[in-house]
Amino acid sequence: MGILKKLFAVAFGTIAGFALVEGGARVWIRIAPPKILKNQEETVLYQPHHHLSYEIAPNAPSMLMRGPHNSLGFRGPELEARKSDVFRIICIGGSTTYGTRNVNESECWPRILESMLSARGIAVEVINAGVPAYTSAECLQLLREKALPLDPDLVILYMGANDIMPRFAPDFRSDYSHYRRTWKKPEMPAPPEPGPLAIVNLMKTRTEPRAPVKALRAMTSKPYREVPEVERAAWARSNTLTFQRNMRTMVDACRGAGSSVLLATQSYAASRIVEGFGELRAQFFREGLPQNSAVVREVARQTNAPLIDFEKDPIPLQGFDDYVHHNAFGSHAVAAAVSRAIIEKSLLQRRPR
């Protein structure tokens, strides 16, 4: 009898334990949100655009180091109606303008720039139109589609790093259509259906994502065989003419629209280029970043545009979070350099329309 009691107790305990676990799994499946992986955050943040390839979704949600975003898909507060006595500055570029390593929007250099100029008693509004991973092609499109209609007094063009990637993608085209593609947002995984054994389903969802998740670059860039011989051959055939053309076109368009323009070479930390890249791609960046800086200098010379040369006057190394993105210290240094250039080069005068 004693043995039977024990066996019964074990059996009952096993069944009860299993029922508790299974019941808990079923409840968890119903109430817990789907697991959001890092790359899925980017899926939420961006949306396709027929002229820009992609944009930050209007009023996209805030998440760590991303946001807030206004109705134009820019990082920052909602824009106010244009006031004639307020000097409007628009900053155009990639992630180093957007501030992908800046936790708060107040740490992004465009916002710091606004504070610095306001502290001098200048009525100014600075718009952060940076979009992560934008090349000069997307920046040019954004200038026409979104920035110039805002009637800026001054446009700051700060880019160069993202134009290196199209150069080592094969089958180069001068409009970067060999690199960028049209795309649609991947669907978020649906909550798992509770089958006969919910605990098994739950374990599956925690180890196997239901749908392919993709980072921004994977969604918006054309896939190719990413092997050294392909990339080396593409790089050898490439040049900086497209980047130069786009930079020159942006300057011409700004001036034609009555806006002043301030150019800046890409700030970077050469000693940190190797981090996160393979050796071959690190080599492309080591070669490409100075080449693009030279392009920006040449465009500034051709167009007599004011220039901030971060290659000649670099941001201190402790201002970098990686080879090109700034931390809060670095953002402050960038903003200070831009503010100084605006004052010293007398860029605060509104041009007649």
């Binding site: 655009h49 027929h50 002229h51 390839s53 499109q141 795309w183 053309r245 076109t249 034609g256």
Partner: protein, 334 residues
């Protein structure tokens, strides 16, 4: 002397009256809706583009709604390809724009660019220092609005180093004004054509060919919406504005000016549209374009100066228009 004076006077009076005379024997055909013609374009001749919505595939012979075939050269333009390098003592003229400049209803030799080229070829013998040769290229794409033309010019066509561009007539923007849900980026008109990859495209073409099915139309891939009935189009027109159009053509003009590229703009023709609402939409484009180009001191050609008798066909329209365009090009400050 008196008879001569009377004859001259009669000729002058006749010259003034004739363009306004409604010649019923040469009654202009109601203009085929450009949207109808666009709807017949085969998607196989185009490919998705991340910045211009779509582009023509190079080297493809495109069957046209009018019955002819457009020869697309290796550069993606219509007709003869430009030489890779801008030859010395040559004036390179690019024709850019939408369906009318492309020549959706005409053969290769009847497009506006071809007719201008033919005029210059007939007028000139050997190029000299003071009278350079003319090289004409056409990069217009059917259906392009001011957004796509401005994008493609700044990201692609400008690389061909033109000395002048002829832009016309951008009346596709009218369809943006006539389609409800207006957005400044024309996202209410266009949708993103998802790149299925070459393998999928080949498979689809093969399936269509095997079934002898009608090839899929470009419009199915790129149009998000089309103009609706009269009430819908009226509402759409009231909700829309020309801000984007003005930004785009200003951008085009400024980018060209920055490179010292001369610009000639062809104002669209509001005559023979499907109805009064479409006429109003096209007139809106005309007014906005005239306002901007006159303020920028840019030459204009008004396609409404083409007499009615020349509107019996697109080819005869282009033939007359080419004279006006050629005249303006030769008068440019070279």
């Amino acid at each position: 002397m008196f008879r001569t004076t009377v004859r001259v006077a009669a000729m002058m009076i006749a010259a003034a009256i004739v363009p306004f005379h409604n010649d019923h024997s040469l009654q202009a055909q109601p203009k085929r809706s450009a949207l109808d013609a666009f709807a017949l374009l085969n998607a196989d001749a185009f490919e998705p583009h991340p910045y211009f919505v779509y582009t023509i595939r190079s080297g493809y012979n495109l069957p046209l709604p009018g019955g002819s075939t457009a020869t697309i050269n290796a550069l993606g333009g219509r007709g003869r390809a430009l030489t890779p390098k801008h030859a010395p003592r040559t004036r390179r003229i690019l024709f850019i724009g939408g369906s009318n400049v492309f020549g959706l209803m005409v053969a290769d030799g009847e497009t506006l660019a071809s007719q201008v080229e033919a005029r210059f070829a007939a007028a000139e013998s050997k190029p000299t220092e003071s009278r350079p040769a003319w090289e004409i290229g056409s990069f217009a794409v059917p259906g392009y609005t001011s957004h796509e033309v401005a994008s493609a010019f700044s990201l692609k066509w400008i690389d061909y180093e033109p000395d002048a561009i002829v832009v016309g007539d951008l009346d596709a923007d009218a369809f943006a004004y006539l389609t409800e849900g207006y957005r400044n980026d024309y996202g209410h008109l266009w949708k993103m054509w998802i790149d299925e990859g070459d393998e999928m495209k080949s498979k689809r073409s093969a399936v269509n060919a095997a079934k002898q099915a009608h090839p899929l139309a470009l419009a199915e891939f790129v149009l998000a919406a089309v103009p609706g009935d009269e009430a819908s189009r009226k509402r759409a027109l009231e909700q829309s504005n020309t801000q984007s159009f003005e930004t785009n053509i200003k951008f085009l003009a400024d980018v060209a000016a920055g490179r010292k590229i001369r610009t000639l703009f062809i104002l669209p023709d509001s005559r023979h549209r499907s109805d009064g609402i479409e006429i109003r939409a096209v007139k809106r484009i005309r007014e906005a374009a005239a306002r901007i180009f006159i303020s920028k001191n840019i030459r204009l050609v008004d396609s409404e100066n083409v007499p009615e008798r020349n509107l019996s066909s697109s080819a005869s329209r282009n033939e007359f228009l080419s004279g006006m365009v050629a005249d303006q090009l030769t008068r440019m400050n070279w």
